[in-house]
Symmetry: C2
Subunit: 452 residues, 2 copies
């Protein structure tokens, strides 16, 4: 049962061991860029797959299947003999000993360590809110949210079916009057058909737009009791406009598009409390069965075990070679890192292009170190940012160029499809998008768990 | 929030109400065939989707996504105005009152009732075995099994990674010896890498073949610690050959193909007990972390509330018009019915073509009843049976014609793809099969839940 594939053959003695924690954009890029390097790589992730996070909201809103946006890490690296993949959780970094410790207690020694653990949602010191306002960071999250959304409409329909049930068998003439929808039923229905999305960044904007499309377009003809078009979708953002990381004009464009889709946009508004049956937006209680969290980012608590300075979001502060204080053999990249933009301004944002470029740099750094050659500092080349707002519309910023509408969406689609790992995924997603766009359907509206 | 789509407009008074319990092959066929009938139809299913069950094992073994083999019932019937879909569970049939009662306590009255509730696995009076030997009847089942299979290989690899962990960083010369795989580790690994499939019918044969392909082919190059080809797969069948519903020669063909794939086939063998860490096959204990149940069928307990005769598998006995004793307005079809083959022999098997033909008949029966016209008895036209055994091989029986091998598999593929609901599904599955067949890959090897 034990194979003889590890360590790879014919390598002489003591090839350096690179341990990469995290198989997202950053970690994946480092591993791939080390394919010709004279090192052995262990890539550890708590999931068994690489996840294309920008499209996660499409799984959550039933446009794509998990299989379209994720690929098993083992499949990605099957041909790269100097990489082994482990599905496991790291509990502690023992930087002084150059070891990591798994939650199981077992340890690995490393010569180089790359920490690319990504980010989690921040509930602003209210972790108890997570239960009633789930976030969207993993496939499990996305499937849970999809389940919630679809089940909500089913419940509302079931409620009404029972109320309307037999009135047309008996008719009015038979003496048994149709039950009318009473005030209590009304309030329950209203709660079921209200969605609140917290956070007006790209994820929140995408989610709100997608839910509005489901409710107001896709499901329009599929229910006999409820009218899905009366669904309320509220998007709450604390800043003065949506997409605070973008210029105000693009944020305003996003607002207009969302409002046209039927979303109520509230900027300069803060969620004060999350209950099981609704939220307090400032001082107003909104009764809602579905609250989704897309606000705030905080880094993995694993970084605390590094013992080096962290910022307020828990990210590890790194220097211009992406290393934390005192540990040149460690690199922290992606959403886990607080890395100042060499062009000035604040730290680099937690977006995919940053993680990818940092990953490429770290691979170069390791190679330079092995050869004892010189290394320049890391510079991020900002090629632009974009966010979709719904079917066929997006906003994009490339340098001083602002784009909106369909052109921006085309660009967004092309770039995202190109970055999808694996030819099969790219092809399948493209076909599915074309199909969905033309038919305005939601391809994967399945409730696959046993209970509602 | 309340729409005015129900009941459908312009229908005059008191259109007859047809209630269909179950949205599988049988229930779906009845509903679709009533599209021009002057009736209102309520279709109730505990899931929100129609499931193409013959391909469920491919979701369980990571070849297909749920989205390929299931379609939301609402989407199927969106254009059929006289059908409404409810996701709900029926608790009781009050046949004397012509009502059904949901588990919530609410009731619906009907003029015609169609019971198409399908079948569950039978654990032969040992329901406690289900926990350690899950079956394969729903998408939730399939995803759970997929999870188990993939997680098993991950766990085994993680075990070995820790054991082998650092030996090539230290090498032999550094004084820290590589840990060897000890006897205890060996037993644990052996248990992890052993799969037992119980039941040698089509589902069991398909599952065993697919797991063998994953282990012995697909994953071959993806692990560095374990050698997946040393996985043991045991298929246990109580009858004298596999595929007892087929002629013995086809059963023997299936055996040979499976053995070539690396499956240990045990016929005339019975599982005496299922434990958390293995099974007793006759008197031999086999240590296995994965036991899957594909044996025995029993009908839904809902049928007991009918109060009419049931057979030993809990199926309702029906007459030549598919109605139970004393209730001509009720029809029971598909796996839920004990219906004698008019051509002689025992009751009709629980396979899709039977359910579909019965569904067509029931729709005709209802129409005939509405028009007070004559109705012939139900006759099943046996167009043949088939089962796959692995990539590119199957057995098929059409009348006296027996087919095996690739030709049979082509036929099987074509027929199954044709019957898949929805053009999109057919197209996608065909493309995916061609891709998988050519590349010998498993397209959807994702672990999407939070824990292993």
């Amino acid at each position: 049962m034990v194979s003889h594939n590890w360590p790879p053959q014919n390598q002489g003695a003591k090839k350096p061991h690179v341990v990469i924690i995290g198989g997202g954009f950053g970690g994946l890029t480092v591993a791939r860029n080390l394919r010709r390097a004279p090192v052995n790589v262990t890539l550890i992730d708590k999931a068994n797959h690489h996840l294309f996070q920008p499209l996660l909201y499409q799984v959550a809103t039933a446009s794509l299947s998990p299989g379209h946006i994720a690929m098993p890490l083992r499949a990605i690296f099957r041909g790269q003999k100097n990489v082994r993949v482990l599905m496991n959780r790291v509990g502690e970094i023992r930087a002084a000993e150059k070891k990591i410790r798994l939650v199981s207690g077992d340890e690995f020694a490393y010569d180089y360590l790359v920490i690319a653990t990504g980010a989690r949602h921040s509930y602003f010191a209210h972790p108890e809110w997570e239960k009633n306002a789930p976030g969207l960071k993993s496939l499990a999250d996305a499937l849970r949210i999809r389940q919630k959304i679809l089940a909500t409409f089913e419940k509302a329909e079931a409620m009404l079916a029972v109320l309307q049930g037999n009135d047309w068998v008996r008719g009015g003439a038979d003496g048994l009057p149709a039950r009318t929808v009473g005030r209590e039923d009304d309030a329950e229905l209203r709660k079921l058909l209200t969605f609140v999305v917290v956070g007006g960044g790209p994820t929140g904007v995408e989610m709100a737009g997608a839910i509005a499309e489901i409710a107001h377009h896709t499901l329009k003809k599929e229910f006999r009791g409820i009218d899905p078009r009366t669904t309320r979708i509220i998007l709450v953002e604390g800043g003065e406009h949506l997409l605070m990381a973008f210029p105000g004009s693009l944020g305003e464009n996003a607002r207009r598009v969302l409002e046209k889709l039927g979303v109520e946009v509230r900027t300069g508004a803060v969620v004060k409390s999350v209950m099981y049956d609704g939220v307090y937006i400032d001082d107003e209680f909104v009764s809602a069965a579905n609250v989704f969290w897309a606000a705030g980012n905080t880094a993995s608590t694993l970084l605390k075990t590094l013992g080096t300075p962290l910022d307020r979001a828990g990210r590890a502060v790194v220097n211009a070679q992406l290393a934390p204080e005192n540990f040149p053999e460690i690199s922290v990249i992606g959403d886990a890192a607080h890395c100042l933009d060499s062009a000035g301004g604040g730290p680099l944002p937690g977006v995919a292009p940053v993680a990818i470029q940092q990953g490429q740099y770290v691979a170069k750094k390791i190679l330079a170190n092995l050869r004892s050659s010189k290394l320049t500092d890391f510079h991020y080349w900002d090629k632009g940012s974009m966010a979709t707002i719904g079917r066929g519309r997006a906003v994009a910023k490339v340098g001083r160029l602002h784009l909106t509408g369909f052109i921006a969406w085309l660009m967004w689609s092309l770039i995202h499809v190109l970055y999808l790992v694996g030819f099969r995924n790219r092809f399948a997603v493209m076909i599915l998008w074309m199909y969905s766009y033309i038919t305005n359907s939601r391809a994967v509206r399945l409730i696959t768990s046993d209970d509602l």
